[in-house]
Subunit: 253 residues, 2 copies
Amino acid sequence: MAALNKQNLIAQDIASKIKHKIYQTNTYLPSEHQLCDLYGTSRETIRKALDQLNELGLIQKIKGRGSLVLDIQRYTFPISGITSFKELNATLGMHAVTKILHLKKTTIPPCEISKSAVKSQPGFFVERLRLIADTPAVLDRDYLLTPPVTKLPKTAAADSIYDYLENDLGLNISYATKEITVEKPDDTVRQALDLPSDGLVVAVRSHSYLADTTLFQITASFHRPDKFKFIDFARRKRVLSSDKPLGGNTSGK
Amino acid sequence: MAALNKQNLIAQDIASKIKHKIYQTNTYLPSEHQLCDLYGTSRETIRKALDQLNELGLIQKIKGRGSLVLDIQRYTFPISGITSFKELNATLGMHAVTKILHLKKTTIPPCEISKSAVKSQPGFFVERLRLIADTPAVLDRDYLLTPPVTKLPKTAAADSIYDYLENDLGLNISYATKEITVEKPDDTVRQALDLPSDGLVVAVRSHSYLADTTLFQITASFHRPDKFKFIDFARRKRVLSSDKPLGGNTSGK
DNA sequence: TATTGACAGATGTATATACAAGTTATAAGA
DNA sequence: TCTTATAACTTGTATATACATCTGTCAATA
């Protein structure tokens, strides 16, 4: 879809070289000026590529010194972003199997969409069980809204819904909100995940949106507590903390 | 410290105006060109400010249209970043109380620092109980490494350690890794949080680093499962997915 | 010896320009 | 009426330039 511009290609290339240890942990990348020569681009383009890697936690930019490659193990790599189970599977090399329990067209009740939504909407409902090493680990319940998801073949649900949406339907997946809580499971979840009758389950609920802010997916993922691990990388951001508006020049011309 | 440059001030100002509904949800911000006039800066500076808001999930930039203010409730605002409990308290308006259980100088064993660490290091150990509406909700165990944390007065631990580190010690807090799991609590945690003998606890372990990549804090936060809620905003990033190095022009001049 | 100062090299910030590409509204045309 | 083309406005990308600021080195100096 996107990602065919210079800065993204450079970011991917450097990320790949970090992954393959061509640029090693605890060493500095070539300077921005050297990278300009290397890729034949301007410094701003290099800087935007490095900003992406910095945001992801692959490197730490240090003023006056350079861009240090951080020590992020493959298994401790953030799983907080929007990532499909297939991508995770590939990145972490887990040997996971997906079993489709349900797949049908339905009407999605307003309460599922949001607290303030009024009218229901058509869509698909998919229930999938993820097994890791033959053990049930996660139960996913997805609502996919129509539109924009007009079709959903069973093969896509078995393989990767994200792949299908991005590559076949050409949707531009952009962002999601996620909420993690610990709850008492319902009967279906308890049986599917083989939990004790008084056991708890980790629920990850998310709403996913396209680049034009269209809601297209509502997911609830139920994880066995003993199999659950959420890894995150976060940078300190101070945008929201203080609360004084700017003086003078903000009031307009 | 930082944050006194134009782009950050503009980002904070716009964020503040969104918060106070001067720019309302589901409306567009003034165009980048208008914002240039408004703040008297160049377009790149405006764009870098908007990028910050976009990354935080306050706005969605849409090509050809503008920057749409997203509908993020105050209570569903991400808690995934590096945020101090005091900041959270203020943002969410929770009425929380902090009780210091322990505060002492100690030696931090290598295993706590990392799997590969060899030598132990001096530091402070702080154990704090957070009560929300007079109910124990979270038990925090912090190791603060010396250096860079040379002193840690009790008043700082009661108020906000981050405030103290940033404003009094002048440390530049930059990033952290976090890991969320569900575990069986030890006796201290179980008693402090008033959990049943067979109950589980949510553990959030994090390592926090300064801008020069110095590790300065190791934290384990134990949450009562019924009080735990983790909210996140994530953008889809495709930097790591593909794995083909660039051809030709990357091999050097 | 120890400190200072100058310098080179690195990233950080801000500006200006040009063009590409998506969106919307309007006017021209069939 | 409906469709199409155009124009105006929007954000996206890339380049070039200038200067600020921080780091490390090295030489001059006290």
